[in-house]
């Protein structure tokens, strides 16, 4: 099966832990933000994502949404602007 090529952009604590702003990844078909985060959590010791939100291509989305080719994924810790 053809792998899905995606980009992940990191912010805040995730950028510090991953030590990079973004990266290109090739993942299995059927990968969701949840399964992607689980893999990255293992790789970079990311915190639990219970209170996080996720966006695909600049839209808030669900954790079980299957990823497509060229998707851009952003995991968002609770926001602290202001």
């Amino acid at each position: 099966m053809e792998l899905i090529n995606i980009k992940v952009i990191y912010f805040a604590v995730l950028r510090d832990l991953a030590k990079k702003k973004e990266e290109l990844l090739s993942v299995d078909p059927g990968t969701t933000p949840q399964s992607l985060y689980d893999m990255l959590q293992e790789k970079y010791s990311f915190p639990n994502q219970n209170t996080f939100k996720v966006a695909i291509n600049d839209n808030f989305t669900e954790w079980n949404e299957p990823l497509d080719q060229q998707d851009i994924i952003v995991f968002m810790p609770p926001v602290t602007g202001g």
Partner: protein, 139 residues
């Protein structure tokens, strides 16, 4: 112009306010969020803000539109800084123009409250003792 803007540039409040004039507005309410030198008992040296700019401007625009639909106001604008900010710098500013004061106050409060809850911006505190950390947020 966009009504919600993320910017690395310093906010000059006088110049910011000059942009907004409306002959129907008898009231202007504004809010400024300022970098202060302490939080939760720690001495803060400076702040660093990161933003997911595209989604932040989209969600911020949604909040402005909600305020326009909910309150009897003429217009509303918000700018939020990113990058490294020093004590006393303006981190965020909201300005609302309305016919009368009551809804200008209410809309201004609504906008800053929702921005703090929903817009993907993150704040890192750098402390006097050399430590630093991203704030946890409300979750």
């Amino acid at each position: 112009m966009n009504h919600f803007i993320i910017s690395e540039d310093e906010i000059n409040i006088v110049e910011f306010n000059k942009q907004f004039k409306n002959p129907n507005a008898g009231a202007i309410s504004s809010f400024q969020g300022i970098v202060r030198n302490n939080n939760l008992g720690k001495d803060v040296l400076r702040l660093e803000y990161q933003s997911y700019d595209r989604l932040a401007e989209k969600e911020g625009g949604n909040i402005i539109n909600e305020a326009l639909e909910t309150f009897d106001i003429e217009s509303a604008y918000c700018t939020h800084r990113t990058g490294v900010l020093e004590i006393g710098d303006i981190a965020v500013v909201v300005i609302v123009l309305a016919g009368h004061r009551e809804d200008s106050f209410k809309a201004c409060r609504y906008i800053i409250d929702e921005v703090k809850l929903r817009v993907p911006i993150w704040k890192k505190e750098i402390y006097q003792n050399g430590d630093s950390g991203w704030l946890k947020g409300a979750g």
